[in-house]
Structures are given as structure tokens and as C-alpha cells.
């Protein structure tokens, strides 16, 4: 039952994506919409990304200090471990999980409301490919903003680690710097960015799919947003495993 349902949903998701990933009917309108979405989905997410990354950076630093550091390990291990966690998982996967809550529910409720108030029908009647018009700018916008969000997240996470070191004195700035620079691999940053591209696509396309197929009224729009966030999170976690395998080997 569940499996059949999932396959059916996946099929209709693919059909929707085929309509979405076609040439925009008017490039000027597409660019205007995309700019608007960059603001809505990208710029508006910067504060929460900065806030969370700063505190998580600080907390990871404290945890590493308390749990990992021991007399027979070099002092820089705290900085090293903090950097690896931020680069490899937090700033891509965990941050996208958080964004799926913010951005995903926003997208589903916006498109769902347009569906139940017949705005999507109005678009279709005008001869507009509503799926392409509404969804493609969102996908484009978040995918083009996500590398910036990832870089911001890494930077503020590291800033958080420095801040807690400075504030509590658990680790000196020199030790932290040594650790952060120890065996640094640029590839890890690229991994983060590549993974986040995939997550950005999942968040925008899956959330849009849930909104686009809403029938009913405001109750159904609410349910759809919840379902969208759950599905996005599960899919992000799954694809994280696969991508990590592929990218880190």
C-alpha cells in the first residue's frame, strides 16, 4: 500500500518536473520572478543561517574540548574536529534540514494557497504554464543562493568557535587556528557546496510539488506544508548518505 502510494507520488512528481523544467515562456518575466525569489528564499534566510551556525560552531567547540581533548592528543584537535564537522556535515546537510523547515513550508503554503484560491487556474486559463512559471524561479533562486549560504554558515560557525574560545578561555586563538588549518582539504568545501545544490533542488521541488497538488482549503494547505517538510527532511537525509559515499571515496 505504502510502496504503491510512494511510486505513484514519485511518478506524478516526475510529470510535474517535466512541466517545470521547460523553457520559460518569457525570459524577462522569469528573471523578474527569480530575483524576487532570491530575495524571498535566499536573502531572507541569511539571518537564521548566521544565527544557528554561530551557536552550533560555539557548541561544537565546547563539546570537542570537553569530550575529545585528552593529554595524549595534540591541542589543535579541537579546532580540527570543529572544522571537519562544520565543513562535512553541519553547513551543508544540517543547515539544509533547517532550511527545509523554513523555506519548504513557505513554498508549500504559498503555492497551495494559490491552488485553493484558483490563482493557478487563472494562470492556466491565460495560457501560462503555471508549473514552470511558479516553480522554476524558486528552484533557480535557491540553487544559486545556496553556495553563499553554505559559505556564510561555515564562516560564522568558525567565528562562533573563536568567540567561545575568547569568551570562556577554553582554547586559545592560536591553538584553534592551528587546528582549523591542520591538513585542510579544499575538496571538502566543494563537497559541501555540491551536496547543498542537491538539497536545494530537493527542498524547492518537493515543497512545490506538495503545494501544487493541494485540493480543498486552508486545512489541506496546512497538512501539505507539514508533509512537505517531513518528506524534504527524509529525502535530504537519504541523499546525504548517497552523496557522501560518492563524494568522499
Amino acid at each position: 500500500m505504502f510502496l504503491a502510494g510512494s511510486i505513484k507520488s514519485f511518478g506524478s512528481y516526475l510529470i510535474l518536473m517535466r512541466r517545470v523544467l521547460s523553457r520559460p515562456q518569457r525570459w524577462s518575466v522569469f528573471f523578474r520572478q527569480t530575483l524576487h525569489e532570491i530575495y524571498q528564499l535566499g536573502i531572507n534566510s541569511i539571518p537564521i543561517v548566521l544565527l544557528i551556525s554561530f551557536f552550533i560552531g560555539a557548541v561544537i567547540c565546547i563539546q570537542m574540548k570537553l569530550n575529545v581533548e585528552s593529554p595524549w592528543m595534540p591541542k589543535f584537535v579541537v579546532g580540527y574536529a570543529t572544522r571537519e564537522i562544520l565543513l562535512l556535515e553541519f553547513s551543508s546537510s544540517i543547515m539544509c534540514l533547517i532550511l527545509s523547515g523554513k523555506v519548504g513550508s513557505n513554498i508549500t503554503s504559498e503555492i497551495g494557497t494559490m491552488r485553493v484560491t484558483q490563482q493557478i487556474d487563472a494562470l492556466e486559463i491565460m495560457g501560462v504554464n503555471s508549473a514552470n512559471f511558479l516553480i522554476l524561479p524558486k528552484i533557480t533562486a535557491l540553487m544559486s543562493m545556496i553556495p553563499i549560504l553554505v559559505i556564510f554558515s561555515i564562516a560564522t560557525g568558525i567565528a562562533g568557535a573563536f568567540a567561545i574560545g575568547e569568551f570562556t578561555g577554553i582554547i586559545t586563538a592560536e591553538d584553534l587556528t592551528t587546528g582549523l588549518q591542520h591538513e585542510f582539504k579544499q575538496w571538502y568545501i566543494w563537497c559541501s557546496i555540491i551536496k547543498s545544490f542537491a538539497f536545494a533542488f530537493i527542498i524547492t521541488s518537493v515543497a512545490s510539488y506538495y503545494g501544487y497538488r493541494v485540493t480543498g482549503g486552508s486545512v489541506e494547505v496546512g497538512q501539505a506544508s507539514t508533509n512537505a517538510v517531513v518528506s524534504c527532511s527524509v529525502l535530504i537525509l537519504f541523499s546525504d548518505i548517497i552523496l557522501t559515499q560518492l563524494l568522499m571515496q
Binding site: Q25, R26, S28, V29, M114, T117, Q118, Q119, D121, A122, E124, I125, M126, G127, V128, N129
Partner: protein
């Protein structure tokens, strides 16, 4: 000209439209009247292709909409203006942007020309001062008028209005009716209007279709509607005292 040929539509086994056949000519406003729940909206949605009827054909100037692919339908729809029962304005755009939207999408005009055209349409519905407002700052009747402006922005060949007058005072209703009638005759548009408003019927009812329980129960015009011997229609019409009096006077 739009031809509807024995169209039937059901929802979950319940027949909402039963073998409707009708012809809508250009340059003429056709009014579909009937009780709430009679199937007026469903018929209109079948005609524009938002619902697919189980049986029957719909021809736009001879072009069969059910045999078109997505692209052809999209092309046809650029010739259609539609006013939804709940207006369905885009709430992320201002009033002016709403009216300009079809022009942005499909016209080859410059920005200034599009703006001018949109302002002209807004002016026609008497709302040029509201151009910078958001739809949610307008009353229901004003939203209706904006939706009409948006529907006529691209100079459609076919215009569909689902209850353009509901929620409007008699004076504004009259203006809207005249507006719809005016552009229909002026540009030779094929216009279909759903309404329960007897004022509209008596005002612009050159072609009136009465829908009852999914059947096309009567067809005629404002001159013979009061003298019909169709019982269903008479029950529907003369539920209003005003119309009763009008009939008595006309008999005298």
C-alpha cells in the same frame, strides 16, 4: 463562435451536466442562469478546459478543444479572458501588476505601452486610482472589477465571466454589465456570463440559457423570457416580487 455538443460531466457518479448542447455566437453576450448548484460554474469550466467532460465536444470556431495537445490549448487560451467567481487575483502583485501580467507574458509591447494599456483597462472599470494597492486592500466588488480589467487586457476573442455581479450594488452591477456588453459588441467577442441577477438578464440578455439540475431547460432572450410556459423557469424567475410585478405590468 463556441459550440457545445452534448456535453456530460459527472463527479463521483453524480451527474452534474447532462447532454448540454448550445451555441454561443460572437458579438453577443450569452447569459447562463440557474439556481445555485445547477452546474453553471462546472459548465463554464468544461468549456475553458479546466474540467474534462466525460462525453461531448467543445468547438472554438470549429477547433475541437479535446483533440488539442497542451501547447495548442495554451495557444488558444491566450485568446481567452476569464473572470472567476472569487476573482482569483494574484495576491503577490499589485492591482496594476495584475492587469499588466497577461501583457507581460504574451504581448510584444514595450513597458510603457503595457502600462498604458493596463491603465486604460483599469480606467474602464473605474479603478485607476487603485493601481498601487494590493488586492487584499480592495473590497470584493473592486476585486471583481480588477479581474475584469485583467481578463480584457489582451483583447480576448472569448470572454467568460462567472457571476461578475455577485457582491456588487445595483449601480455598479449595471456598469459592469454595460462594460461587458460594450466590449462584446465592439470587438465581436464571444462572451458567456453566469449569473443569478435578473437585472442583468433584463438588461443585456440577448441570449439566455436556463440550466436546471444539469439540464439545459430553456433557451431564449430577454424579450420572451417573461412569457415562457416553462414551469421550472417560471418558478425560478418569479421567486422575486419585482419580476412578478414587471410581468403583471407588461401584461396590462
Amino acid at each position: 463562435m463556441i459550440e457545445v455538443l452534448s456535453v456530460s460531466k459527472q463527479f463521483n457518479g453524480q451527474e452534474v451536466l447532462k447532454e448540454i448542447t448550445a451555441t454561443f455566437r460572437n458579438g453577443e453576450v450569452s447569459l447562463i442562469i440557474g439556481q445555485s448548484g445547477a452546474g453553471k460554474t462546472v459548465l463554464l469550466k468544461c468549456i475553458v478546459g479546466l474540467f474534462t467532460p466525460e462525453k461531448g465536444k467543445i468547438l472554438y470556431d470549429g477547433r475541437d478543444i479535446s483533440s488539442m495537445d497542451k501547447k495548442e490549448i495554451r495557444h488558444l487560451r491566450q485568446e481567452i479572458g476569464m473572470l472567476f467567481q472569487n476573482s482569483a487575483l494574484f495576491d503577490s502583485m499589485s492591482v496594476l501588476e495584475n492587469v499588466m501580467f497577461p501583457l507581460d507574458m504574451f504581448s510584444s509591447m514595450t513597458y510603457n505601452e503595457r502600462r498604458k494599456r493596463a491603465m486604460f483597462c483599469l480606467d474602464r472599470v473605474g479603478l485607476s486610482e487603485a493601481q498601487y494597492k494590493n488586492p487584499d486592500e480592495l473590497s470584493g466588488g473592486m476585486q471583481k472589477r480588477v479581474a475584469i480589467a485583467r481578463a480584457i487586457a489582451l483583447e480576448p476573442k472569448y470572454l467568460f465571466c462567472d457571476e461578475p455581479n455577485s457582491g456588487l450594488d445595483p449601480q455598479t452591477s449595471l456598469k459592469i454589465d454595460e462594460l461587458i456588453h460594450g466590449i462584446t459588441t465592439e470587438f465581436g467577442i464571444t462572451t458567456i456570463v453566469n449569473t443569478h441577477d435578473m437585472n442583468s438578464v433584463m438588461g443585456i440578455g440577448d441570449h439566455v440559457l436556463y440550466l436546471a439540475n444539469g439540464n439545459l431547460a430553456w433557451e431564449g432572450n430577454k424579450d420572451n423570457i417573461l412569457n415562457s410556459d416553462n414551469e421550472l423557469l417560471n418558478n425560478f424567475l418569479f421567486s422575486s416580487d419585482l419580476v412578478k410585478k414587471v410581468k403583471e405590468m407588461s401584461l396590462k
